[in-house]
Chain length 291, copies 2
């Protein structure tokens, strides 16, 4: 994405490559899990976790296994999302989706195995106390399950072809994409054992960042296609409500700016104590990215 | 199933009904999770866990959340197994499968949510230490993931329409069905903090019980009728190797008897210390069941 996060991405990828993904069962399953784990992911979530730890003056290795767990859960959600029964996507990040390479059945099971592996990884972390592992597994399962990401996905599905309010749209995003972004930040807070004021500020910041991420996604969905190819954007084809369909493009851009300002304001409350420059920079990157 | 396990099933079902399955996301997802959790399951795995705890003179409430987690993982695996992309089953236990009621997309996500919820439940258990929770989550993720159940499912899939050896068939069963049955027993050993000799004996017993379970399944698949099993014989239709296709029916029945004898022999090593009658009885039940 950019130099600011590159150092985290590189360290993360190097460590993820070392993660054992074999078993005595000896099947193609692990190849399928590996395929999607290394399918050109931008690594935004694990980088956010490591970057926040670094800001909190904590060794980022203390968060490495949790960052891998987070990326595994994000990856499984993409594999299942792309299935014919869900979004039916043949390509993601320029390469074939998991089920187009390994078939639907293996893709379902590779997703299941990655989700399961995420929790296994945290239990095996040799840098964290049992208490911290339990806290992190609890936060991660709440963020990923029916209270969080999966709940948001169902709400999103049930909202297709319907007129929804801006409140409902915010709710979808808060859970569907926001929950794992929030986890990245509050997992770092948990590992670094921050005080409650810092926790609250960073938790609020993470929620702003989640909205920025999603609003920019909606803008990219119409700008990417419209400006370059003149094709109809996929959200419109799928009859999905977006910030643009609800607010209009100009107001969506204003909303994006407001959330960026709010995110920066929250970070600035911490600047006497911590170096907030990297988190400010990633906020800017997420808001201005081109893909 | 029978009086011996009924008291555990009743206590388990009563406790499971109290488990909160709602969220602020407010979707049909929880209804779908609930549907399969209460779809006439025989509760063999959680009952085994509770029964083993009872034998080990430990309050079964100490294993209740882990038993629920185990049943949630078993349930999610059935939901995903029944999908059109996998076994494409319309009925299970005499009622419609999850995807026939809620659609494929919701069924995939309900499975994902149940798998995730399993780990959340253990983290929230207020009777276990953090150390025990981490041990149990590690055992459960290893038993359920690519090292265990999911690995076995892929191996099973890859063996369809192929001639396989008895060794491969045993390997499939050891992981596909054996891993969760083993978990039921060794989770109880972990919670009861047994000595290593007891652990080894009960671990070996659990592996015999898993084989008994599967061999009987194969026999029921050719002998059983729909009224009792609630499913249509499918191994032959799916070109799956079974104990019967590899050994013949008579030898399969002999193998079943041998494993029952071995299971009883292992339990008898513990009879000076524990009351082994319930585990002996459930072994007999599993070997003689009609569905």
């Amino acid at each position: 994405m950019n130099q600011i996060i590159n150092k985290y991405v590189e360290q993360f990828n190097a460590s993820l490559k070392e993660t054992e993904l074999t078993s005595v069962v000896d099947t193609q399953l692990e190849e399928s899990m590996h395929y999607s784990l290394f399918a050109n992911g931008k690594r935004i979530r694990p980088s956010l976790l490591l970057m926040t730890l670094s800001m909190l003056n904590t060794d980022i290795e203390n968060g490495m296994e949790t960052a891998k767990a987070l990326e595994m859960i994000h990856t499984y959600s993409l594999i299942h999302d792309d299935l014919p029964a869900m979004d039916n996507d043949d390509f993601r990040r320029g390469i074939k989706t998991n089920h187009k390479v390994y078939g639907d059945a293996t893709a379902i099971l590779a997703g299941d195995a990655l989700l399961t592996k995420a929790f296994e990884l945290i239990t095996k972390d040799n840098k964290l106390s049992a208490e911290d592992k339990v806290k992190l597994i609890r936060l991660l399962s709440e963020s990923a399950g029916h209270h969080g990401m999966v709940g948001g996905q169902v709400l999103d599905m049930n909202s297709e072809n319907k007129d929804i309010t801006l409140d409902t749209l915010r709710k979808i995003h808060r859970y569907k994409t926001g929950a794992l972004i929030r986890f990245a930040i509050i997992a770092a807070c948990t590992i670094a054992k921050v005080d409650s004021k810092t926790f609250l500020l960073l938790d609020s910041f993470s929620q702003q960042l989640g909205l920025i991420f999603q609003i920019k996604d909606d803008l990219l969905d119409i700008e990417g296609d419209f400006d370059k190819t003149g094709k109809i954007a996929s959200d419109e084809t799928n009859n999905k409500s977006t910030y643009i369909s609800l607010l209009g493009k100009a107001n969506t851009k204003i909303a994006l700016e407001q959330h960026v300002n709010q995110a920066n304001y929250l970070l600035e409350q911490l600047q006497d104590k911590y170096n907030i420059e990297e988190l400010k920079a990633i906020t800017k990157l997420v808001a201005n990215r081109e893909n």
